[in-house]
């Protein structure tokens, strides 16, 4: 067989490359820069992510044809479709906001600590973050199982380190727990992939679907087992119940921006993987995984919401709420069986939901970051935030009501309506009812939090004459750090924009052949 030099479509993979190159640049810069000059690292990171975002534009303008690269006769391993671009936009944009969130936290040289929280070393942090984002962005374009697995590991390995980066006991424990469970999930995933490969003889998603259709009946059980195990691997990433156990502790132990990263970027990437394997490779088995994921969706949202009711810690509450939100995203998957083979009607609803979820969840994390700096990490520490930071409090109220899905949080409402529409259209009525009940449960804790923002009296214990000054400090009217302001403005503006013009996101529902 003659050695064939593969021609690589550099533009197609340019967003991935931009982020990867930025990661290396940051790593090198961290080695050669000293002291205060390390303050440039976050800006390099932002520039890398910005370049990745900018490179999506020529790809979008390129036209409707999918660009494939790393092709072999059985298919391409990396394909840029509209779906890829939407997911990469969400992933890169979210990572951009995460970097903004972490700027006040990350030390310039890792020595001086601001506030009482242990500092996070800047060079490592940004390098790891960019590496992880590289995996996430690559995953959105991956079209064979091996690329998917490699991308997923590229996403996950740096994430373990990110969780444990703040070298205190809790961070270490969280990172270890995350690592062990994640490694188990990867093993399951790899086992599934090997079974699928063994029975179909291919790793390319589109080809697998074709092979599954004309599979030797003796192999169907093997292939189905492989499909289920593969999907379980991704279900772990999106923290679907019962594979969610890592999420609350990991979020809580990690620095808050890292928690935001896990709950948005990592989760979106996980859903992207699920979308690709379920929507393309295992499409012929939709009658199997559809009902299973429907049950999973119902259990996930219910467990997440019920557990969130009892949380007093802000990050922990957001962790459970994000598990519940995962349940909502899973709902369109759960309706697949009702649609037979045509998944293009339902699965895009999950993409639309993810995009809106990224905006509102990052916004909420931005305010939590701010409050945690000034007061503390409890939901009760948000009491009376309106007096100290009116704009931040109003933004938080907006994000929380978006997550709850009632006006004025129209963006979230539209996202929920989209998901409901997919379910009702597919005729999976019971799942719609479960979700309706869950929306009500969710409203309770989101609203309780919102109400706290506007409580009049000072936070904490009833004011004593002597503690007047202390209360004043805790109320903290210090100016907000500029990066946090930028993150708030960015997410807030996007949230309002999506509330007024939901079509911007909902457009994905009507893009023909989104799943390629």
């Amino acid at each position: 067989m003659p050695f064939d030099v593969q021609s690589i479509d550099w533009l197609a993979i340019s967003p991935v490359l931009a982020v990867a190159v930025a990661a290396l640049v940051v790593l090198l810069a961290d080695l050669f820069l000293e002291g205060a000059r390390k303050a440039v690292l976050p800006w390099l990171t932002l520039a890398g992510l910005g370049a990745g975002l900018a490179l999506l534009v020529p790809l979008r303008a390129d036209g409707d044809d999918a660009r494939g690269t790393f092709c072999s006769p059985s298919g391409c391993s990396y394909v840029v479709t509209d779906l890829t671009l939407v997911l990469q936009l969400v992933l890169l944009g979210s990572a951009f906001v995460v970097v903004l969130l972490s700027m006040p936290m990350v030390g310039a040289d890792g020595a001086e600590g601001a506030g009482d929280s242990p500092e996070v070393p800047g060079g490592e942090y940004h390098f790891l973050l960019l590496s992880s984002v590289t995996g996430a962005v690559a995953l959105a374009g991956a079209r064979d199982l091996l690329t998917l697995v490699v991308a997923l590991e590229t996403l996950s390995l740096p994430a373990f380190a990110l969780v444990g980066l703040r070298r205190d006991g809790r961070g270490g424990e969280a990172a270890l727990k995350f690592f062990l469970l994640s490694a188990g999930a990867t093993a399951v995933l790899l086992f599934g992939v090997s079974l699928v490969y063994g029975s179909t003889g291919s790793v390319h998603l589109a080809r697998i679907a074709g092979e599954l259709d004309r599979l030797d009946p003796k192999l169907t059980h093997v292939a189905a087992t492989g499909a289920v195990l593969t999907m379980i691997g991704f279900a772990f990433k999106v923290a679907a119940v019962p594979f969610h156990a890592w999420a609350p502790d990991t979020y809580r132990g990690a620095p808050i921006p890292v928690a935001a990263y896990l709950s948005v970027v990592s989760k979106t990437a996980g859903f992207a993987g699920l979308l690709l394997v379920a929507g393309i490779a295992f499409r012929p088995y939709a009658h199997l995984w559809g009902p299973a994921l429907a049950v999973l969706a119902a259990v996930t949202m219910t467990a997440g919401n019920v557990a969130a009711l009892r949380q007093t810690d802000a990050v922990r509450l957001l962790a459970w709420s994000s598990i519940a939100q995962s349940g909502y995203v899973l709902v369109p998957f759960g309706t697949a069986a009702g649609h037979g083979e045509d998944l293009a009607d339902t699965l895009p609803a999950a993409v639309a939901y993810l995009a809106v979820y990224a905006v509102m969840n990052l916004g909420a994390f931005a305010v939590v970051t701010l409050v945690a700096r000034e007061r503390g990490g409890l939901v009760d520490d948000h009491r009376g935030l309106f007096r100290a930071h009116p704009v931040a409090a109003l933004a938080m109220a907006f994000f929380l009501l978006c997550l709850a899905g009632i006006p004025p949080g129209l963006a979230g409402l539209f996202a929920k309506v989209t998901v409901f529409q997919a379910v009702i259209g597919a005729g999976t009525g019971w799942l719609a009812v479960v979700m309706a009940v869950n929306v009500v449960i969710g409203l309770y804790y989101y609203l309780a939090w919102t109400a706290r923002l506007f409580v009049v009296e000072a936070p904490g214990t009833p004011p004593v004459a002597g503690s007047e000054g202390a209360a004043e400090v805790r109320t903290g009217t210090a100016p907000m750090p500029l990066p946090l302001v930028a993150a708030l403005v960015l997410t807030g503006a996007l949230g309002v924009l999506l509330s007024v013009a939901p079509q911007l996101v909902l457009h994905v529902l009507t893009v023909p052949g989104l799943l390629g």
């Binding site: 006006p407 539209f414 989209t418 529409q421 259209g425 719609a432 309706a436 009940v437 506007f454 457009h507």
Partner: protein, 501 residues
């Protein structure tokens, strides 16, 4: 494209946005509230003046909002929505004027004003929306403002649970309602209420119609509120500040019956036929149950005046449900008339209850004592007026709606059991007697008898109060004496909607 209607819906929202500007003081906030609501009322009255009677929608706007979702920004009004629109604008203006002097402690008056302005936008939008999703959206807009009004400015001790009960109950209702809307869209491919009403259920099988009606009906029944889904209402009313109670009873409750008339009955005729007897039965149970509870509360020294009025609302809305459930133009006209009458009378009663509570510091009958005629004769007379209007005295606004609803029940629509509906009619008649009993009992308890209770307060009706209450009293008389003015507006639209001639 009608700019005026959009402006009417948006004016309160603009007012609320104005309040967000930094540096708006306490006094300015209250004045902005009055200004925005007055502008809204002027707009609504202008619409009413320019309104041509007859079939079809007026002042329509129909532009695409989110094509992928099928959502259109479709507004328009007809004879069914116009009276409710004007009523909403009027009551909110009165609340705004009332708030010039009376905002209970609990938070900044800026927030208070902004919240009831948001509430007004939500209700006006609900009455003007002609797209199912848009309707749902406006329907939900009222939830958060009302929650905060109760939760922050309500009476201490009760407001927390009451506010949560209110919002969780109604959200569950509207979420289920949304499922019904989406089911309709899945089968017919449109959210357009006008088109769906014209189709009279074409394209939906009997089963689908029944299911969709069940979902939508349940959601709206919570809002109405229909017995046995009413339990959030008395708590919310008792805890809410005066302004909240007035808006809740006068405006928010109307959204439930309006939704039934505008959406559930015309769009899903077969579903309506299936469930009409149940609606009627629950409505009649509500009438009787509401009045029995009121009678019990009257004897209870811990009976709360506002709670009595709240339960009387359950009874009145029972009449509206009965009227709708007859599926006849008379019945539906009656239901609409009940809505307007109830909005005026109960709005007035809640204002009065608030005034009593402000003067005495309590609304518990046992502590209020009697002798209001002696102490504060004008206030006593107004309470008596509100009570007799509430019991449906001929010549006042409460009368015609109940009469029409019961008239409709005497000869219900085709396919409905005449015997059953006449039984309902008899029970509703019994309910009117019981209603008269408790309202007259209330007058006797509060207004007559020896001066008792503590503390004895001598302040009679003040000038500002008179300004707020006079329009309600006057309109109660007008609607009672010249019902034809209102019916001439509603009747053509109702007939068009019911598919009759």
């Amino acid at each position: 494209m009608s700019v005026v209607l959009i402006l009417v819906v948006a004016a309160p929202l603009l007012g609320a946005a104005l309040l967000l500007l930094p540096g708006v003081g306490d006094r300015a906030a209250r004045l902005i509230g009055v200004g925005a609501t007055a502008a809204t009322l002027v707009g609504a009255v202008a619409l009413a003046c320019a309104f041509r009677r007859g079939r079809g929608m007026r002042f329509e706007t129909d532009v695409s909002w989110a094509p992928s979702l099928g959502l259109r920004f479709h507004l328009g009004i007809d004879g069914i929505s116009l009276p409710l629109l004007v009523l909403t604008a009027l009551l909110t203006l009165l609340v705004a004027v009332h708030s010039l002097w009376n905002i209970p402690p609990g938070g900044s008056s800026r927030a208070f004003v902004a919240l009831f302005l948001l509430l007004e936008t939500g209700t006006l939008g609900t009455f003007a929306a002609l797209d199912l999703i848009l309707f749902f959206l406006f329907f939900e807009v009222v939830l958060v403002p009302m929650y905060f009004l109760i939760n922050r400015w309500g009476s201490a001790g009760e407001r927390g649970p009451a506010s949560y009960k209110f919002i969780l109950y109604t959200l569950l209702g509207s979420a289920v309602m949304l499922l019904g809307f989406l089911l309709i869209q899945a089968k017919t491919g449109t959210f357009d209420m006008v088109e769906l009403a014209d189709r009279h259920g074409a394209g939906m099988s009997h089963g689908v119609q029944v299911l969709a009606f069940l979902a939508i009906g349940l959601g709206l029944a919570v809002k109405v509120p229909m017995w046995p889904l009413h339990t959030w209402l008395p708590d919310a009313h008792t805890a809410a500040p005066t302004a909240g109670s007035v808006l809740l009873a006068g405006v928010l409750l109307k959204m439930g019956t309006y939704g039934l008339i505008r959406i559930a009955v015309p769009v899903l005729p077969e579903g309506a036929e299936t469930f009409a007897p149940y609606l009627a039965a629950f409505g009649v149970i509500g009438i009787v149950y509401g009045s029995l509870v009121c009678l019990a509360l009257l004897r209870d020294p811990d009976g709360d005046l506002k709670r009595i009025i709240a339960y009387s609302s359950v009874g009145h809305m029972g009449f509206a449900l009965l009227g709708i459930a007859t599926l006849t133009p008379q019945g539906v006209n009656g239901a609409l008339f009940v809505n307007i009458g109830h909005g005026l009378v109960t709005g007035l009663l809640f204002f009065l209850a608030g005034a009593v509570k402000d003067r005495h510091g309590t609304a518990l009958l046992g502590r209020l004592g009697g002798g209001m005629y002696g102490r504060t004769p004008r206030l006593g007379a107004l309470v008596a007026f509100g009570a007799v209007a509430g019991l449906g005295l001929p010549g006042l606004a409460g009368f015609w709606g109940e009469l029409l609803a019961m008239y409709g029940a005497y000869e219900p629509g085709a396919g409905l059991s005449v015997g059953g509906y006449r039984t309902f009619l008899a029970l509703a008649g019994l309910g009117t007697v019981l209603t008269a009993a408790y309202l007259l009992g209330l007058v006797r308890r509060l207004c007559m008898g020896p001066v008792g209770g503590e503390p004895t307060v001598g302040v009679d009706v003040t000038g500002p109060e008179l300004v707020v209450w006079t329009p309600l009293v006057a309109l109660t008389l007008v609607a009672g004496l010249w019902p034809a003015t209102l019916l001439a507006i509603t009747d053509p639209a109702v007939r068009a909607l019911m598919g009759g001639s």
